[in-house]
Symmetry: C2
DNA sequence: TTGTTAAGGTCTACGGCGTTGGCATAAGGA
DNA sequence: TCCTTATGCCAACGCCGTAGACCTTAACAA
C-alpha cells in the first residue's frame, strides 16, 4: 500500500500518469461524480475510475484512504455546490427555504452520489460552512440559541433525509427503468376496492403525486412553525414573560 | 442459474440441507436481518448467509432473484413489524403519530437493513397494508381525497426519509465506533469564534441535540398543519364556501 | 549542470464477492 | 412402486478492493 495519503495542500510533485493526465483530488472527485451520474452506483469502481483517469487503480490510494475517503470527498463536493448556487437576500425565512432547496437540488443532481453520502457527517470545511450559515441566519433572525439549534437540527436533517429518499427513487428509476414508478399505476391501481377501499378510491391521485417530492411542502411546514415560534417569543418578550 | 424462483406459497418439497436445516423465505430473511444487525452491512454476503443457514450460497437463488430480491423481502419484513407493533385507538392524529413512530422505530431497530431498504418501493403485501391503513385513517378523519393523498405522501416519505437518515447515523456509529459522533464535540467545538461565531456560540447545545432524531418534532409539525387544514375545511363546509 | 531524494506513479497478487450452469437426490403424486 | 421435478450442492467465471514491492522522474541543493 502507498505509505501515506498526502493532503492535497501539501502535494508538490505532479507527475503525469503514463497516459498523460495530471491527477488531483479535484479531478478525481469530479470524474467519480461523472461516472456515478452516467453509469450508476455500480459503475464506480477503483479499477474503472482508474481507467477513466488514465491511471492505475492503486494510484487512487495515494489520494484517498480507500474508497470510503473518496466517498466523503464526494459528499463535501455536493454540499459545496449547494452553497455556491445560493445567494442570500436578507430575509431569513426565504433564505433558509432557498438554501434547503439548493441542498436538495444539489444532491438530486447526482442521485447515486447522494445515496452514498447523504447520511455521512464529514466535518470537512464546506460542510461546516453550510452549518455556520444556517445558524447565522437563525440567530440573526432573533431566535435564541436553544431555538436556533432546534430549528437548525430539524432543517439540516430534513434536507438530507429527503435528499437521500428522493435520490433513492431517482437512482432506482435509472437502474430499473421506471419499473418501480409503474408500481403506482399498475399494482396499486389494480388493487380491488373490497380489500383496499382507500387505495382504490385515491389511486388516480396517488399515481399523480407519489412521483413528486414531498420535501417543499414539509420544509414550508417546518419554517412556518419556526416563524410562529419566533413571533410568539417576541410577543412574550415585549409583553413581559 | 436455477431456472426459476418459486414463490413461497407454491413451495411443496421441503428438502433439508446437508446440514439439516429446512429453508424458507422467512428463515432466510430473519437470518439475514440477524447478520445485518450483528455484523453490519458488509457482514451480509451470499456466502456468509449460506454458511449461517448451513446451505450452499447458490441455494439462495432458488428463493430470491439475486440479493436485490432478498433486500426487498427484508424491507417488507421491517414494514410488517411496524404494523404489527401498532394498535389503533380511534383518534386519527394520535394513531398516525404512533404509526409514524412505529415505522421509524422498526427501521432503527435494524439500521443496516433500514439503509438498504428505506428508499425502495416494494409493492409487497404488507407495505401495501400500511399504505391502506394510513389512507383509511385520513379519509376516516374527514380529509377529502386530494388532501388525504397529500398528507399521506408527506407522512410516509417523512417516516422513511428519517428512518434512512437516522439509520445511517446509527449504522456508522456501529462501524466507526462513535468517531463520527465525536465530530460534534471535537471538530465543531474547537472551531474558533472569529471564523465560525455561530457554531462557537451554540456548540454546547449542538453536541447535546445532534445525536437525537429530529423526526418526532417534524412529524408533530406535519400533523399539526394537517389538523389545522382539516378544521379550516370543516368550518368552510359548515359556513358555506 | 549534475546528483540526490522521495513523491507519486506502476505492477502483481491475494482473498472474497455475486452469480451461473450442470448435476445429484429425495419428496410426493400416480 | 415408479417417475417427475423441486430443491439442494458443486465448480467455475469474471469481477472487486486493496496491499506491497518496485520504478521513474520532479524538485531542489551544490
Amino acid at each position: 500500500m502507498p505509505k501515506k495519503v498526502v493532503p492535497e495542500t501539501e502535494r508538490r510533485r505532479r507527475r503525469p500518469t503514463r497516459q498523460g493526465t495530471v491527477l488531483s483530488e479535484r479531478l478525481i472527485v469530479r470524474t467519480a461524480l461523472r461516472m456515478l451520474h452516467e453509469h450508476g452506483a455500480s459503475g464506480l469502481t477503483a479499477r474503472r475510475l482508474g481507467a477513466a483517469l488514465g491511471a492505475d487503480p492503486s494510484t487512487l490510494y495515494r489520494y484517498f484512504a480507500g474508497l470510503d475517503g473518496l466517498t466523503r470527498a464526494i459528499g463535501e463536493e455536493l454540499m459545496g455546490r449547494a452553497l455556491d448556487s445560493w445567494t442570500p437576500t436578507g430575509t431569513w425565512r426565504a433564505d433558509l427555504r432557498a438554501l434547503g432547496l439548493a441542498i436538495h437540488a444539489s444532491y438530486l443532481a447526482h442521485p447515486h452520489a447522494a445515496l452514498l453520502t447523504a447520511s455521512r457527517v464529514t466535518g470537512r470545511p464546506r460542510e461546516i460552512a453550510v452549518d455556520e450559515t444556517i445558524l447565522g441566519l437563525l440567530r440573526g433572525a432573533g431566535f435564541d440559541d436553544a431555538d436556533a439549534v432546534g430549528v437548525y437540527h430539524a432543517f439540516i436533517d430534513l434536507a438530507l433525509a429527503f435528499a437521500a429518499l428522493d435520490a433513492g427513487a431517482l437512482a432506482i428509476k435509472d437502474e430499473v427503468r421506471e419499473a418501480d414508478e409503474e408500481v403506482w399505476t399498475s399494482t396499486y391501481a389494480r388493487l380491488p376496492a373490497e380489500t383496499h377501499p382507500h387505495i382504490a378510491a385515491t389511486a388516480h391521485l396517488l399515481a399523480e403525486r407519489m412521483n413528486l417530492s414531498a420535501y417543499p411542502v414539509v420544509l414550508d411546514t417546518l419554517l412556518g412553525q419556526a416563524e410562529a415560534r419566533l413571533t410568539a417569543a417576541g410577543n412574550r418578550g415585549i409583553g413581559g414573560q
